[in-house]
């Protein structure tokens, strides 16, 4: 096993994947968890499922460590990395788990809450969101993963593009070969090639 401290800079390393129910949070967290486990780390993941998924804010807490008895909930203020499938959700997570050293990878495609749709609340402008996220993090990457996935023919690939983008940032030791072995176990054989393409295109988003 790699030493967690040498490879990740911190033990445990705390990653939060956030988004809106239905965006594929759970798949992304399992994928990343298995990729990091293939690398030899111990991985602990905490998820929200069920009712809380129906159009609500969802989070997966992923912890990478040299040991296994970690809390599936990351303590307040202790995130090292936030991957956000929806930009306002990044702010919601930073409020509870952020700190001056956190990194953020953020997909900019908005999903309007029903309070926004009905007009009771206002959805912020992209530039405002970027400024807040930049202010609250050490380093932030903003990508249009959903649009890139639609260009591939299906928005469902958005989370795979984001995993590819995350690998390309280099903040975590995520290797393409581990992606390939993991995704082969998770999707039908005829979907593997498209997922590999999505992973690679995701990498280009932060290049």
């Amino acid at each position: 096993m790699d030493s967690v401290n040498n490879t990740l800079g911190s033990d445990p390393y705390n990653l939060i994947i956030t988004g809106v129910g239905g965006q594929g949070n759970v798949l992304a967290s399992r994928l990343l968890g298995n990729m990091l486990m293939a690398r030899g780390f111990h991985v602990t993941i905490g998820e929200t499922f069920g009712a809380s998924q129906r159009g609500g804010s969802v989070m997966s807490h992923l912890r990478v460590s040299s040991q296994s008895d970690l809390s599936p909930q990351i303590p307040r203020g202790q995130a090292h990395l936030v991957v956000s499938l929806e930009p306002t959700e990044a702010l919601r997570v930073l409020k509870d788990y952020g700190n001056a050293d956190v990194c953020v990878l953020c997909n900019m495609r908005p999903i309007h809450a029903i309070g926004v749709i009905s007009g009771e609340a206002r959805y912020p402008e992209p530039d405002e969101l970027k400024q807040w996220i930049n202010d609250l993090s050490r380093r932030a990457w903003f990508v249009n993963a959903t649009e890139a996935a639609m260009a591939m023919g299906n928005p469902i690939f958005g989370n795979i593009l984001l995993v590819g983008a995350l690998a390309a940032t280099g903040v975590l030791p995520l290797e393409r070969s581990h992606f390939e072995t993991t995704i082969r176990r998770m999707v039908p054989a005829d979907k593997v090639a498209a997922n590999l393409t999505a992973f690679d295109r995701g990498g280009q988003l932060v290049a």
């Binding site: 008895d69 029903i114 309070g115 009905s118 807040w132």
Partner: protein, 645 residues
């Protein structure tokens, strides 16, 4: 082959807690598993069903939890190992049989796994199953990490067979739905034969008739079994201590709280000052083991979720042991150190531990916390839960809500358990006015429907999902039909147990393992009870509205409206649009229309958003599921639907 049975003993796997429990049951050599779906428990039976052919199992989604426990108990009485799984609420449903089963005893190993939901993340209460173990006098185990979630199952089956009693292994959301690494053990090869011996002497536990009488004798026998369990727990490997020889504070904890406690000790950098006593055998506590560890410190902090179950047991022992271990200072629920509602997390434990240690802890620098709070306040609008885009329930409640408004007699709807419980909220136009347990909507409606002699004249509706219908609505409906209660039951038939992931129910022609089975006809059952029955497609707003309006005026007796349309996430629909939706921006008049933005301000489907800049509605093509319902709402005719290719 399922991931669950791939790989050799000794290999490490990333398993969800529920997968670890399922794997543990397989390593224990179970033959039968039964349950009823409920978050956070459903993946256990689901995963076992996937391997039922390879592992020669019988796995079923039973009609409800009481029947599931009866099905599992039958296997035990026939000499097989059997597992029964449910969410906490299911234990309430099964509790009548549970008490009798504790009295009658078991034969083949029988383990009940309830998954509790502290904080009610996917429930409408935060009830607990632990208290049942004490009340009905059966041993209770609680895994304190993912490896134990697997390893406790074989242990529990052995214990069940040694004592001939049901054993409870209780999980919680943050174990069941969290993932961690688990080392695989071997899968046994066995081919047990099922046979129910009933010809022996009536008090012979292995060959006589099975019942909980004579009560006093059987009750005393059950208490002997509990005493033997306490003895076995003295050396149980799941009870562990980590920390210095003489800590200042001893944390006594169990379940997911073990992981939070270890985290809290790390965050406070208090490894030299605090010990963590993790209890895997929460009831009955092993007294000598407890004595040995309670001696260590004068301050005891009990960390657990919701009610002070462990705290009370520890305090009883500490009172009895006071002459040998001395007087202790306790921190926990009773003194308010640990909250008695909501789920725990590392920060809540840090707060409690800091108090016991006389320390302070700040999770975030104040300046960052203020800045982040302000950004989230202005930048992250609240995200209320919604029905999914394309969900038939949105259309159903749109009609129900509108019909009640048109009817004008202050009618109301008694709610029930499922995704459609969300109709309490704006996404379902706040249509539901009561919400309790499975089947209670129809039971309450049956009662309201008999109040006319007291001047009651409001129309009464109840809703039920198709799975809930079989689970607990049937008896309530029989009651309403028999007494001619004046109610309308709307059955929201979306072809599966949608909320928990499309598990089959008796209305479908398929079972847990995917085999063809007899499907029971909901409409036929309702007709046989003498109800007036109508079936509509909720996506056809006009027809549904006319039908429901006529039912509200149809006079005394039980009326049933079945609204049949598959869930948008169902395997047959998922990812496929019925229609491509378009909004003609030149036709949409926005705020000036006079429709009060019916499609966005009122209907509120996440697939249909308001473009504030242009002042028109717009389809979000990523979110829209293409159900086509919104096209029939727009008075200006701006929303068009086109058959999807």
């Amino acid at each position: 082959m399922s991931y669950l049975i791939q790989g050799e003993a000794g290999e490490r796997r990333l398993f969800m807690g529920n997968e670890a429990i399922a794997r543990g049951a397989l390593e224990a050599g179970i033959s039968v598993a039964a349950g009823y779906p409920g978050t956070p428990s459903s993946e256990i039976i689901e995963n076992l069903a996937k391997v039922s052919a390879e592992r020669n199992l019988y796995v079923e989604w039973s009609v409800n939890e009481k029947v599931a426990l009866e099905v599992a108990a039958a296997a035990s009485l026939a000499g097989l190992r059997a597992l029964c799984v449910m969410k906490q609420n299911g234990v309430n449903v099964a509790s009548d049989f549970l008490l009798h089963l504790s009295g009658s005893g078991t034969r083949g190993g029988l383990v009940l796994v309830p998954c509790d939901d502290p904080g009610a993340l996917s429930s409408v209460n935060e009830g607990e199953s632990r208290h049942f173990a004490r009340m009905i006098e059966i041993p209770l185990l609680e895994p304190g990490n993912f490896q134990e979630a697997k390893a406790m199952l074989p242990y529990a089956f052995e214990l069940s067979e040694q004592l001939r009693t049901l054993v409870m292994v209780r999980s919680v959301t943050r174990l069941s739905h969290a993932s961690g690494d688990v080392t695989l053990g071997p899968l046994p090869e066995s081919a047990p034969k099922a046979f129910f011996k009933h010809g022996g002497f009536i008090l012979d536990p292995m060959e006589g008739a099975v019942l909980s009488a004579p009560v006093e004798l059987k009750h005393a026998l059950q208490q002997e079994k509990v005493a033997k369990a306490a003895e076995a727990f003295e050396t149980c490997p799941f009870n562990t201590y980590t920390g210095p020889e003489k800590p200042e504070v001893l944390i006594v904890t169990s379940s997911a709280c073990n992981l939070y406690s270890l985290e809290a000790v790390r965050l406070l950098k208090a490894r030299e000052r605090v010990g963590v006593l993790k209890i895997g055998t929460t009831w009955p506590l092993p007294p000598r083991f407890m004595e040995q560890h309670l001696r260590r410190a004068d301050k005891i902090l009990v960390v657990e979720e919701v009610l002070p179950f462990l705290e009370e047991s520890v305090k009883i022992l500490a009172a009895e042991l006071a002459p040998v271990i001395g007087i202790k200072q306790f921190f926990g629920k009773r003194d308010g150190t640990i909250p008695a509602t909501g789920e725990m997390n590392p920060d809540r434990v840090v707060a409690g531990l800091a108090k016991a240690l006389g320390m302070s802890y700040a999770a975030m620098p104040e300046a960052y916390a203020q800045k982040a709070l302000s950004a989230a306040f202005f930048g992250a609008p609240e995200r209320d839960l919604t029905f999914c885009p394309g969900c038939p329930h949105r259309a159903s409640f749109w009609t129900i809500h509108n019909v009640l408004q048109m009817d004008g007699r202050q009618g109301f709807v008694c709610g029930d358990i499922g995704c459609y419980s969300l109709a309490m909220r704006p996404t379902g136009f706040e249509t539901l006015k009561t919400l309790h347990s499975m089947g209670s909507g129809t039971g309450l409606a049956s009662g309201f429907g008999m109040l006319q002699r007291f001047g009651f004249d409001q129309p009464v509706l109840a809703v039920s999902g198709d799975s809930t219908f079989f689970h607990a609505v049937l008896p309530a409906m029989a009651n309403a039909a028999h007494h001619r209660a004046d109610i309308t039951l709307v059955i929201l038939d979306n072809s599966g147990t949608a909320m928990t992931g499309f598990q089959p129910h008796p209305g479908l022609a398929v079972d847990a393992a995917g085999h063809g089975v007899q499907a029971l006809d909901i409409a036929g059952i309702c007709q046989a009870m003498g109800a007036q029955v109508h079936v509509c497609d909720p996506f056809d707003l006009r027809e549904t509205q006319e039908c429901l309006l006529s039912l509200l005026g149809a006079g005394q007796g039980l009326k049933v409206l079945i609204l049949r349309q598959a869930c948008a996430l169902s395997p047959q629909k998922k990812g496929r649009k019925l229609f491509e939706m378009h909004i003609d921006e030149t036709v949409c008049r926005g705020e000036s229309c006079g429709c009060n933005r019916l499609c966005t301000r009122v209907f509120k489907c996440p697939g249909l958003v308001w473009d504030a800049k242009k002042g028109v509605s717009r389809i979000d093509e990523v979110i829209c599921a293409g159900c086509g319902v919104c096209a029939s709402l727009c008075p200006a005719g701006a929303i068009a639907k086109e058959e999807a290719k």
